[in-house]
């Protein structure tokens, strides 16, 4: 085997290792450093019930898409007569937490405004479902 070909193959091998490590590096950067919003359990990914007859102080983090509602199929049960069985959906998206009303008759309100489309939430936003109020922490 001519030495020149071996040298070329050597460079190809090292280049392949670099290519693979580069791909891992970009994936790790996406996951860890580049988007601090996505740090689960960090600011803006948790909610606290601040007004409710029975659930004051209830806290939970949104680590995957979850559905709020009064039904047994909801991920987080809202004990409120005005809440629908499956009332609203929270999703930890790329940039921030998002909220979507699932067609509830009584509606979902963010900072007093009725939710008609998917809305991005920020820390301190208040979400109203029936008489229950939750705050993004």
């Amino acid at each position: 085997m001519p030495a020149a070909i071996l040298v070329a193959l050597k460079f190809i091998f090292v280049a392949l290792v670099y290519l693979l490590v580069w791909r891992v590096a970009t994936a790790v950067a996406e996951h860890v450093g580049a988007k601090p919003w996505r740090v689960l359990g960090g600011p803006g990914t948790g909610l606290t019930v601040v007004r409710s007859d029975t659930q004051n102080g209830l806290e939970f983090d949104v680590r995957r898409p979850i559905v709020l509602g009064s039904g047994s199929e909801a991920d987080v049960r809202i004990d409120d007569a005005y809440a629908s069985d499956l009332h609203a959906r929270l999703d930890p998206e790329e940039e921030s937490l998002t909220l979507e009303d699932l067609g509830s008759p009584s509606g979902t309100y963010v900072n007093g405004k009725r939710v008609t489309a998917v809305v991005a939430l920020s820390r301190g936003d208040s979400i109203q479902i029936g008489k229950t109020v939750l705050e993004v922490k």
Binding site: M1, V17, V21, L40, R64
Partner: protein, 418 residues
């Protein structure tokens, strides 16, 4: 990174190993397809099995753990194959065995999770103490490893397992007794006097285990003490632990040579390896020669002389990689390690439970610390601390410890995401 991408990485690492093995054989003017195929199968099956176990028993774990480890294992496999074909085939079995063991561990904890620890941390301490004692029971009492006379290549190094056990132990101890360590050892209200006594007893026992380690393997003892100090800092935010750990390290470097003749030789060699290049300075000198011969891009697989470097498949594997892949190869190997450590710390940062945080943080630190100390030993930054690197070096205990660390990180990541 998506789950399908993980499968691509597993196959790519197998392909990388096969390509490397092919290059080694081409340099020897041989065209052999079977070793390349075997290399592909070993890497693909070992990491494929581990991937299947993660999908089954830790499905929400981050997909970033396997890729970097599989790339390192591929580079390590090629380097070992280039140095000793028989050792490489054994290493292939170790990879498969380690992947199987860690898959079984994932299955074992899948029901009750990491939080269920049965009898607490005493069994772990007993295991660590027992592992430290193993080498003295073997034929080569006083060494840090155990070998079988009938199969000298099958070497068990309990120190590798001790490090892992110690990190788990520190995580449990610090998580359960956080208030005690935050108060710097003084009596604190949430702890009843009986519990304080238990803590002191455990510290005494830890000390005894450490002395046992230090007698045979001072580098492992340094890592274990360092791990405790950093993990205690992580748990309590008290910088006194870091200062104390640093102080202990300096004291060990200053006072160690008077206490141990071996350490004295190591420091003499470290300050000037060229005065005794054929004697004790041989490891450091040959390692530096290897790195120098590799220069920027390396000699190419099979074209250098890494077999002149002592322990080139274990402690000095970094020098062997440096000789045949050059600075370019060593940089990318360190980058892959850094990515594994960053991923591990990412898992620790996301964790909510203190125990999970400490366990993930401690294990990431162990992976990174071991790589840094090994490389520092090879390039002469630290005296004689060259130690094998998980996934890159040959060794059953080491490979097993590497896979188990990945499995624990995967489990923590899974439990924190669901």
């Amino acid at each position: 990174m998506s789950r399908p991408a993980e499968i691509v990485f597993v196959c790519a690492s197998g392909g990388l190993a096969a390509f490397g093995v092919l290059l080694v054989n081409l340099a020897r003017e041989e065209v052999r397809a079977m070793p390349a195929l075997a290399a592909f199968l070993v890497l693909a099956v070992a990491f494929g099995l581990f991937l299947v176990a993660i999908r089954a028993w830790a499905p929400d774990a981050t997909p970033l753990l396997i890729p970097a480890a599989s790339i390192l294992a591929a580079v390590g496999f090629v380097t070992i194959y280039r140095l000793d074909e028989n050792l490489a085939s054994l290493h292939g079995w170790w990879l498969l065995l380690s992947a199987t063991m860690s898959a079984l561990w994932l299955y074992a904890v899948s029901e009750k999770g990491l939080g269920h620890r049965g009898g607490g941390w005493w069994p772990l301490l007993a295991l660590a103490a027992g592992l430290v004692a193993i080498p003295s029971l073997g034929a080569d009492g006083g060494t840090i490893w155990v070998a079988w006379r009938s199969a000298p290549a099958v070497v068990l190094n309990p120190g590798e397992i001790v490090k892992f056990v110690m990190v788990a132990l520190f995580a449990i101890l610090l998580a359960e007794r956080q208030a005690f360590f935050s108060a710097g050892g003084r009596y604190t209200a949430p702890l009843r006097p009986a519990r304080v006594t238990t803590v002191w007893q455990s510290i005494l026992l830890l000390g005894l285990v450490l002395v046992g380690v230090a007698v045979r393997d001072s580098a492992t003892a340094m890592i274990v003490v360092g791990m405790f100090c950093v993990m205690a800092y992580m748990a309590t935010n008290r910088s006194a632990y870091l200062v104390g750990g640093f102080g202990a390290g300096v004291l060990w470097l200053v006072a160690g040579p008077w206490l141990s003749e071996g350490l004295q030789t190591r420091i003499t060699v470290w300050t000037d390896p060229w005065t005794q290049p054929e004697g004790p300075g041989n490891r450091l000198a040959e390692g530096l020669f290897g790195l120098a011969a590799g220069s920027l891009s390396g000699t190419g697989f099979g074209l250098g002389d890494p077999d002149l470097i002592p322990e080139s498949t274990t402690s000095l594997v970094f020098a062997a990689v440096g000789e045949e892949m050059g600075l370019a190869g060593t940089v990318v190997v360190l980058a892959a390690y850094a990515l594994m450590v960053v991923t591990g710390f990412g898992i620790a940062l996301r964790a909510r439970e203190v125990f999970h945080k400490l366990l993930a943080g401690g294990l990431s630190l162990l992976l990174g610390g071991q790589a840094v100390m090994s490389v520092a030993g090879v390039v002469g930054l630290l005296p004689g601390t060259a130690m094998p690197i998980p996934f890159l070096s040959y060794g059953l205990s080491l490979t097993m410890a590497g896979f188990v660390i990945l499995a624990v990180l995967a489990r923590v990541s899974h439990e924190e995401r669901v």
